[in-house]
């Protein structure tokens, strides 16, 4: 029986505890993520025939995870945790390589050195490292050019950071729970790399997340609330943090991913009820709202104002608090854009953060400073 992307559903979505530092070893954290995903789907290890599970520091990978799952999986995925892994698993299911895939990722024990920026933000390339760049500086070079070309204002960046951090402040599961931040607070926080103040930048933390994908047909038989894949796409423009992040070349990265996703879904951006936009830095949200088609190029700065992207607004963004306030855990935060989309459509978030009657969610990963940006559309109803 031939399947396609629209015959794939997400039936499990879970995240572990997140914290600045977790006193949990990575293997235990990954096991927690794997168990949680399966429980969320109402499945056992023996019912999984595909796996993509990995850790950031200790290097556990899918081939090893097969054995953790008692040898049941016949298919292993190698896609990086996040939309990449979801699209890879969905393709495997659609092409009949397997029927039920567990995707999991976890990270703890990474942060040791406090005298420098976080290790994974530091480049090693010979044409980058010596100039003192790190992730914030890479994204800043894109933001500064956008502000120069379009007149995007620091106040718009501050509103994005405050809106998303306000979500995290009201999310008991967020690392920064209780830490309400106003746009004025953002602009008053210390400068990291112009135009980014401290509160424009994501936190670093530890944690894990997982997803379970299966066929829509199988999903109907499970005691789990399925969410359906409507469309997805990738936009890869090279190795992160090697060549200069040129706005003219890379400023629209993600446009190709969004166009493919919306085309497959047969939808326009107007259909999106909640946007789990990847938010490593406040500005990146403005840029992605443009490339995903929610507004025109250069209009992102105005689009985010007047409460439009806050909960209760026209297009709530990063509703769990995102990378800025909820968690940024190695690569698990990429998966968490998908898990939070699923949880929104299932109505599993705290009331204050729930988007009422949400039917379509957009998740994104990556950003212009990193030269990649992927998109995934999920629906409460099948396509």
């Amino acid at each position: 029986m031939a399947r396609n992307l629209h015959d794939v559903a997400i039936v499990g979505a879970y995240h572990t505890e997140q914290a600045k530092r977790l006193d949990v070893a990575e293997p235990a954290l990954l096991l927690d993520a794997m168990r949680g995903g399966l429980a969320s789907a109402g499945l056992t290890a023996a019912e999984v025939d595909g796996v993509n599970a990995s850790t950031w520091v200790s290097g556990i990978h899918a081939r090893e995870a097969v054995q953790w799952l008692g040898g049941h999986p016949c298919w292993t995925g190698t896609g990086s945790p996040g939309i990449e892994a979801v699209l890879e698993a969905a393709s495997a299911i659609a092409s009949g390589q397997c029927d039920t895939v567990l995707i999991a990722a976890a990270q703890s024990g990474e942060y040791q050195d406090h005298s420098a920026t976080v290790s994974w933000t530091r480049p090693s390339n010979e044409f980058v490292e010596c100039w003192g760049l790190y992730t914030a500086a890479e994204f800043a070079l894109i933001a500064q050019r956008h502000m120069h070309v379009y007149g995007t204002k620091p106040e718009a960046l501050a509103e994005v950071a405050a809106a998303i951090r306000s979500n995290g402040a009201r999310n008991p599961e967020a690392v920064m729970f209780g830490r309400e931040v106003t746009p004025e607070d953002v602009l008053a926080s210390r400068m990291v790399a112009t135009p980014f103040h401290l509160f424009d930048c994501c936190i670093n933390s530890e944690g894990g997340a997982s997803l379970v994908l299966t066929t829509s047909e199988r999903a109907r038989d499970l005691d789990a609330d399925p969410v359906y894949l409507l469309g997805g796409g990738m936009d890869r423009q090279g190795m992160s943090y090697t060549a200069a992040p040129l706005f003219d070349l890379h400023g629209r990265v993600g446009e190709r991913a969004g166009k493919r996703a919306f085309s497959q879904a047969g939808l326009t951006p107007a259909a999106v009820d909640v946007a789990e936009i990847y938010d490593p830095f406040s500005f990146e949200v403005i840029r992605q709202l443009e490339v995903m088609g929610f507004c025109g190029y250069g209009e992102g700065g105005d689009f985010v104002m007047d409460g439009r992207i806050r909960t209760g607004g026209e297009l709530p963004v990063a509703t769990n608090g995102g990378l800025l306030s909820y968690s940024h855990a190695g690569l698990a935060q990429m998966l968490q854009k998908v898990t939070n989309s699923v949880r929104q459509l299932r109505g599993e978030l705290p009331d204050a953060l729930t988007v009422p009657d949400a039917k379509v969610a957009l998740a994104t990963n990556g950003g212009a400073g990193a030269l990649f940006c992927d998109a995934l559309l999920l629906g409460k109803e099948p396509a």
Partner: protein, 133 residues
């Protein structure tokens, strides 16, 4: 302690060695004229391996920049200015701006290469405001 210095590769070595002679080299494809930077094994337009090293004027303008206040490592003295330079020949590179106060930097500023000897092996191509500017 010094800042981390480039570890050259067989592909990039000619670029770094020319810096020691005060020359800024970029790869040019003799088949299709494409300028290639950072150094690559083949042309990024026509995929031939017909790349040769050609000397840049070292003159350009600031394409984008960021004033970094939180240094990558303690060895970098903050604030420092990271910039992308649009070279006059039509290629771009990352660098740091020197001999200018961070507040005086703006996109479009005319700059020129300013080599600084960092070690016996490495001379880095910084940029500074053009003398005539």
């Amino acid at each position: 302690m010094t800042i981390p210095l480039p570890r050259k590769t067989p592909v990039s070595a000619p670029h770094w060695e020319a810096c020691q002679d005060g020359r800024l080299l970029v790869q040019r494809c003799t088949t299709c004229d494409q300028l290639v930077f950072i150094p690559r094994p083949g042309c990024t337009r026509c995929l031939t391996e017909t790349l040769e090293w050609t000397e840049s004027s070292g003159l350009g303008t600031v394409y984008s920049y960021t004033v970094v206040h939180r240094p990558q490592r303690p060895e970098f003295e903050a604030p420092y200015v990271v910039a992308i330079i649009a070279l006059d020949e039509g290629w771009h590179m990352l660098t740091n701006l020197v001999d200018i106060a961070p507040d005086d930097v703006s996109i479009g500023l005319a700059v020129e290469v300013a080599f600084r000897v960092m070690s016996d092996e490495i001379t880095l191509p910084y940029f500074r405001p053009r003398a005539s500017a």
